[in-house]
């Protein structure tokens, strides 16, 4: 007997069809992994079960929860159900909590709404549940406000809020996507424990097959508003029947083919690099306290080499990247590119930037929405000063750069919003390539895009590296990606490089304690 049955649910918002006959089932105590690429309708499916759909949404089909008809249920019945029998956790721990309410009160509120318990009793319930999710009152006072907690801690509060009344069904919509790997592992552990202890059913939504593999009993794969495949984890992952599922699995485990490039001499030399950020003054005339974001970092990248940089959130990866590029002043140390100092006085960075470009994480945010792609891609040519090509020569450069990343040159006079996420990231790479730099720094360049697209981009990067021979500094929190594309890896923690070495060695046989936890925490698909 299943707890939730979704039968042929069709949903449209306004005139756009979003779901097209979705069917799935969850039994009590079962963990269902709902996977699929961005926009495939995972969240909408989950929200349909709670009837918390956006305005203008129309649902048809059948949803039964514990024998009750959800589609026909009144708003009153749903209010009674939500939070009491069905709990939900959302993706963004940063914004999912009310910033003006203490965490204790937010958890207690769920209890106060559904039961007739008094204020103090609800507090006690909340306290117990917060302790259960690893936030004991004596360490993290329950009178704190969300902004006083870390991302992982906030997500724990979110979970406590959802499960304080021990619902029969818990829906978790990408609960760990915003967290770094080590925290993700802890949260997944917590969920696993709760499901086991309380016997609740869990609908776990994720785009990461590896997470599902470690958590779920069964899987539903969604594509364009349809569930294309359902089955147990083993069945689906080991023997996928549907073509889309196969493609998804292939992309998730994809390793681009690379020839070990011919490596040259030292291209980039970083020596004793430190970067301090000033904290707000604590006393009026006292000195600024500082926070060291990058702490005595030294390493070298050879021409044609692909180097990975891993580490958890806040370890200083991006700061280091910006410092290398000369976009940030440094506190100490120096950076040499082809023997030329990046941080020398004057417009030195201007000179070294010709040999060094960067690709950013957010493929949309890194383009000015008001300029055409041709102009955006040509922008680094500004570095050539008066020697910059003009007219037809310029167009030629843009065309060939676009062609190199597989974009039709004819698309150069479109705006960036007219491209898909994957295309945008290709254009970003074209922009970095156009000036033919010796080194390209990629800061989480594939983190924000879907697995299938990610596979293409990784192939492209591998191919370009082989053909044009630039060196890469590849920053990522995803060990799988780093393993696939880099020769050597640097592990960063607390602003320091704690371990460095050939990628395979470091990831297979981590020496430093931090690297060990990092490697252990990373979910793996192909076990």
């Amino acid at each position: 007997m299943s707890l939730v049955t979704v039968e042929g649910v069709t949903l449209s918002i306004g005139d756009t069809p979003v779901l097209n006959g979705v069917s799935l089932e969850i039994a009590p105590g079962e963990v269902l992994g709902l996977v699929g690429e961005s926009g495939s309708g995972k969240s909408m499916t989950a929200l349909s079960v709670l009837k918390l759909l956006p305005v203008g949404a129309r649902v048809a089909g059948q949803i039964a929860f514990d024998g009750r008809d959800i589609i026909a249920a009144s708003e009153r019945e749903m209010v009674a159900l939500r939070g009491d029998e069905i709990g939900m956790i959302f993706q963004e721990p940063m914004t999912a909590l009310n910033p003006l309410m203490t965490i204790g009160d937010q958890v207690a509120e769920t209890a106060r709404i559904h039961t007739r318990v008094g204020r103090s009793e609800a507090r006690a319930l909340a306290k117990a549940m917060l302790e259960r999710v690893g936030l004991p009152h004596d360490r993290i006072a329950h009178t704190r406000y969300p902004h006083e907690l870390s991302g992982g801690q906030r997500q724990r509060v979110g979970i406590a809020m959802a499960v304080v009344l021990r619902p029969k069904l818990l829906i978790a919509d990408e609960p760990t996507t915003a967290l770094d790997v080590t925290t993700q592992a802890q949260i997944l552990d917590l969920l696993r424990g709760l499901v086991r202890d309380e016997g609740m059913a869990l609908m776990l939504i994720t785009h990461d097959l590896a997470v599902v593999a470690g958590m779920a009993d069964s899987i539903a794969v969604m594509d364009k508003g349809v569930v294309v495949e359902r089955g147990t984890v083993l069945e689906v992952l080991q023997a996928p029947r549907n073509a889309y599922t196969k493609k998804l699995i292939a992309a998730s485990t994809h390793v681009p083919v690379r020839q070990r490039g011919k490596q040259g001499g030292a291209l980039l030399e970083v020596e004793g690099l430190c970067k301090d950020y000033a904290l707000p003054r604590t006393s009026l005339f006292g000195p600024h306290e500082t926070m060291r974001a990058v702490d005595h970092v030294s390493f070298t990248i050879k021409a044609g080499e692909s180097v990975g940089l891993v580490g958890e959130s806040g370890s200083g990866k991006s700061t280091l990247a910006r410092a290398i590029l000369g976009l940030e002043t440094v506190t100490a140390g120096h950076v040499l590119l082809k023997g030329q100092a990046v941080h020398a006085a004057g417009r030195a960075a201007f000179a070294t930037l010709r040999d060094m470009q960067m690709v950013f994480q957010d493929p949309y945010g890194s383009f000015d929405p008001r300029q055409k792609v041709g102009r955006l891609v040509a922008e680094p040519l500004h570095l050539l000063g008066s020697g910059a090509p003009k007219g037809a020569a310029l167009e030629g450069r843009v065309d060939s750069a676009l062609k190199a990343v597989g974009i039709e040159p004819g698309m150069a006079d479109r705006y960036i919003h007219e491209f898909s996420g994957g295309q945008r990231q290709r254009i970003a790479i074209a922009r970095a390539l156009i000036i033919e730099p010796a080194l390209i720094v990629l800061d989480e360049a594939v983190s924000a895009i879907d697995v299938s697209v990610r596979a293409q981009i990784l192939d492209l990067l591998a191919d370009l590296g082989d053909r044009l021979g630039h060196a890469y500094l590849f920053i990522s929190h995803d060990l799988g990606v780093v393993r696939a594309i880099t020769d050597r890896v640097l592990v960063m923690a607390g602003g320091k490089i704690v371990e460095a070495g050939p990628t395979a060695d470091v990831l297979e046989r981590p020496a430093h304690a931090y690297t060990k936890t990092l490697v252990a925490a990373a979910p793996r698909l192909a076990g």
Binding site: G39, P380, R431
Partner: protein, 273 residues
């Protein structure tokens, strides 16, 4: 994209306003400077569609020409605010946290802290009343509005990756401000300009009430309304017509501005995913 009805109403009213001003350039039913005291306070009728005022001037003609005055005053006042305020805001944002930024922002706060109407009265007391000085007075208080708005919008843009990309292309702050920041804040500025425009029309009316707006013989809606105050019991149309002209124009501009804001709102804008 669905266009909101308020945008249409706003556009129509604003357009009517502009058309009136343009028409007045080539044609008015009567000469607005010719007085005919014997013919004063005639109610609306065939000869004078909207009646005549206390000097026997044709109100319809005055409304037409007054639209021109309003446009001129408001346009220049908003122009002054933008021409000075926007560069200040852009520069402040490009050097966020520096002493220069601090100076500009403190200066802004200070201008905001001065009671606007009293300062306007002082300015006109120093330079004499008149449209130009009314414009200066209104314009001064538009500077911090635009400076602050520009700075705020620009600051959030400066944290975006595409600005980093431009810096990677070796471009300086000033160039980035011009090439990337300014076009991206232009929508916000346009919307605010529409609203400040309507506020300027109201402000001119307020100044006219204390006798400081555009000076005779140039017709101005604010002065028409102010002068008609005492006539309302005698000939209500004299006070109602300019009042309604101001209300409908300000209303139109505000609706238009709001509609534009909705139109430009990124949350309502959806490119292909």
């Amino acid at each position: 994209m669905r266009v909101a009805p308020s945008l249409i109403i706003g556009a129509v009213l604003s357009l009517a306003f502009v058309v009136m001003a343009l028409v007045s350039l080539v044609w008015t039913p009567f000469d607005v400077t010719a007085l005919a005291v014997g013919n004063r306070l005639v109610p609306p009728g065939d000869a004078h569609w909207l009646g005549t005022d206390h000097f026997g001037r044709d109100i319809f003609s005055m409304i037409l020409v007054g639209a021109r005055t309003s446009i001129a005053v408001a346009l220049v006042a908003v122009g002054v605010g933008m021409v000075i305020g926007v560069p200040l805001g852009l520069t402040a944002a490009s050097r966020a946290g520096s002493w220069f930024d601090d100076l500009i922002m403190r200066g802004n706060d200070l201008v905001f802290a001065f009671p606007a109407l009293i300062i306007a009265i002082l300015i006109t007391a120093i330079f004499g009343p008149g449209a130009i000085n009314a414009i200066i007075a209104i314009g001064i208080f538009n500077i911090p509005v635009f400076a602050r708005l520009t700075r705020g919008a620009a600051l959030s843009l400066w944290t975006r990756d595409f600005i980093l990309a431009a810096r990677l292309a070796g471009k300086g702050r000033a160039r980035i401000s011009l090439e990337h920041i300014l076009p991206n804040v232009s929508n916000t500025l346009l919307v605010q300009a529409t609203i400040q425009f309507s506020l300027a029309i109201l402000a001119e009316a307020g100044l006219a009430y204390v006798g400081l707006g555009a000076q005779p013989p140039v017709p101005s809606w604010g002065r028409m309304l102010a002068e008609a105050q005492t006539m309302i019991a005698l000939a209500p149309h004299v006070a109602l017509v300019p009042g309604l002209a101001i209300v409908s124009t300000v209303l139109g501009l505000n609706l238009f501005g709001d509609g534009l804001r909705d139109l430009f709102d990124p949350r309502l804008q959806r490119g292909p995913a």
